[in-house]
């Protein structure tokens, strides 16, 4: 397992005198379940914005499957298979989920420039949209305007739109953020069922979700990588406990669920 699909080399990003990203070298393997954690202000968002092409790094390089993508605009990175979801839903409120997915699938298949055939008239696009709607449990909402969907369903569509692009690397930015408890399980199941060959980089505050999902973790503090390792190593790392876990996990009460979910993940 040394098949690295996403790699950063000594990434630095400065905002004036502030160094928001300090010499970050990150490697994500094909099919990885990699979590990026860190306290507020650790520079997670800045790092994601550099990976996706929203921000240009001050120094360093980013490689996707061996190709240097540091200078590519956001949409070109997507075409190469680096896809993200957003912490705050970024959807098309007046389009239906079916139209949204059809647009994403058409975009991937290079059919989006077609200007004479109706959206989804292509049988391949149609089949894929049906499959995605089923996979993300959106069948019953396929033809309603996205703005009218319950929040949890919109959250699912947010992820479905990314999966529709068949990414090599999927950046999930707090996928469960704001989802009410009743709809949470749908999101967790969906994330657990993501295709095995897709490398997933998860940015999340929810420690239960992180420890149940990740097989590898990187801890970011003050813009720099503090440490990296398996969830067991991270959970046991006194440095991490000091700067990060100590804040949110108080003593033994929160350690237990993390440990049990770890055991569960190991079996699965």
């Amino acid at each position: 397992m040394t098949d690295i699909v996403l790699q950063t080399h000594h990434l630095v990003r400065r905002f004036g005198g502030l160094v928001a990203t300090q010499d970050v070298s990150l490697s994500v393997e094909r099919g990885a379940r990699h979590a990026l954690i860190g306290p507020n202000g650790a520079g997670k968002t800045t790092l994601i914005n550099q990976l996706t092409g929203v921000l240009a790094p001050s120094e360093g390089r980013i490689e996707l499957a061996g190709q240097d993508i540091t200078a590519l605009p956001a949409h070109r990175r997507v075409a190469l298979g680096l896809v993200r979801t957003f912490q705050i839903n970024q959807l098309w409120p007046t389009l239906t989920p079916l139209q949204s997915l059809a647009l994403a699938v058409s975009s991937r298949l290079g059919a989006s420039r077609r200007w004479w055939q109706a959206l989804g008239a292509d049988a391949a696009v149609a089949r894929e949209c049906e499959a995605l709607l089923r996979q993300f449990r959106l069948e019953d909402h396929a033809e309603r305007a996205t703005a009218e969907l319950p929040y949890g369903k919109r959250r699912l569509l947010e992820i479905a739109l990314a999966v529709a692009l068949r990414p090599q690397v999927l950046l999930l930015d707090e996928p469960a953020a704001g989802v009410p408890a009743g709809e949470r399980q749908d999101i967790l199941d969906t994330i657990a069922a993501l295709p095995a060959d897709v490398a997933v980089l998860l940015i999340e505050h929810d420690m239960d979700l992180v420890f149940s999902f990740a097989r590898r973790m990187t801890v970011l503090v003050n813009g720099a990588v503090l440490t990296e390792g398996t969830p067991e190593q991270i959970a046991a790392d006194p440095q991490v406990r000091a700067v990060y876990l100590g804040e949110s996990l108080t003593g033994t009460r929160h350690e237990a669920p993390a440990a049990t979910t770890l055991a569960g993940a190991a079996h699965g």
């Binding site: 949409h75 997507v78 098309w92 079916l98 975009s107 989006s112 200007w115 109706a118 959206l119």
Partner: protein, 336 residues
Amino acid sequence: MSARPATRSAAPMDATTLAAHSARVMRWKPWELVVWALVWAAPFAAPQHAALINEIAILALFAVSLDLILGYAGIVSLGHAAFFGVGAYAAALLAKHLNPDPLLGLAFGAAVGAALGALTSPMIVRGSDLTRLMVTMGVALVLLELANKFDSLTGGADGLQGVVMGPVLGLFEFDLAARTASVYSLAVLFLAFVVLRRLVHTPFGMSLKALRDNRLRVAAIGLSVQGRLAVVYTLAAGLAGAAGALLAQTTGFASLDVLEFHRSADVMLALVIGGAGWLWGGLIGAIAFKLMHDLISAVTPQYWTFWIGLILVLLMLVGRERLFSPRRWFKRGGGA
């Protein structure tokens, strides 16, 4: 045609749903056919109003072109007359100096409009709506002053005189009563409408609505926001250029008036009255705007702007959906 698939509801999905959905939106609804039949009947039933019908058709084409960028792609513009104006001058100059064929001039006017659109599109990609309002308005003002300055070419404030058009298709001479003109303009409008009605339901058309709704996500599915905006802006500019060409050809005249600010404002008014974001908005708006203008001016010549202002305020405060838009009378969404 009679078997309409009942796929609106939450019926279980099957592999044909999306195909049926796309076939359904593409199909012309009966009311659309009726309206077009009435529109087509107008120049034949009321030839004495041919000049008005011609003006309406031209404004409608202009408004539909604005709808493409404003209603679909969400680009606000107060300078759409820039493209209308250069199209008008291009067609008039071509006819005067090189070739009097109307269709050639129409194509030339559209091409010049599109070229200006492509040239100026980078300016509308960035910034806020206010930026776009000012930039589009500024471009139109610059062109207006250029047309004024280069009077050896444009005729300046006197206008470009002596534009004599050849017959349409070599068969139909333009007449003083504007009968040929009205049918010619209507035919161009109809053709553009048929093509655009299809276009807005294609992946390309849907990506325009997506741009309006959320540009961040458009980039996130791998589409170039700048590229799409440039294409739609160029397309709309070409259509506006064609509308301008029609005006110059059917009136045999082009003057600074084609670039004036009031043209940009009028076309936006017409579109707002008809409703932005659906193609019928431009058409219905143009008809309503011109008819109101004619009727109100006939009653109170001085106070036309008072009434149009009042209507505008009502429209904005009460909401066009509740006042006019037929699609909201029946259901949400859908429409052309």
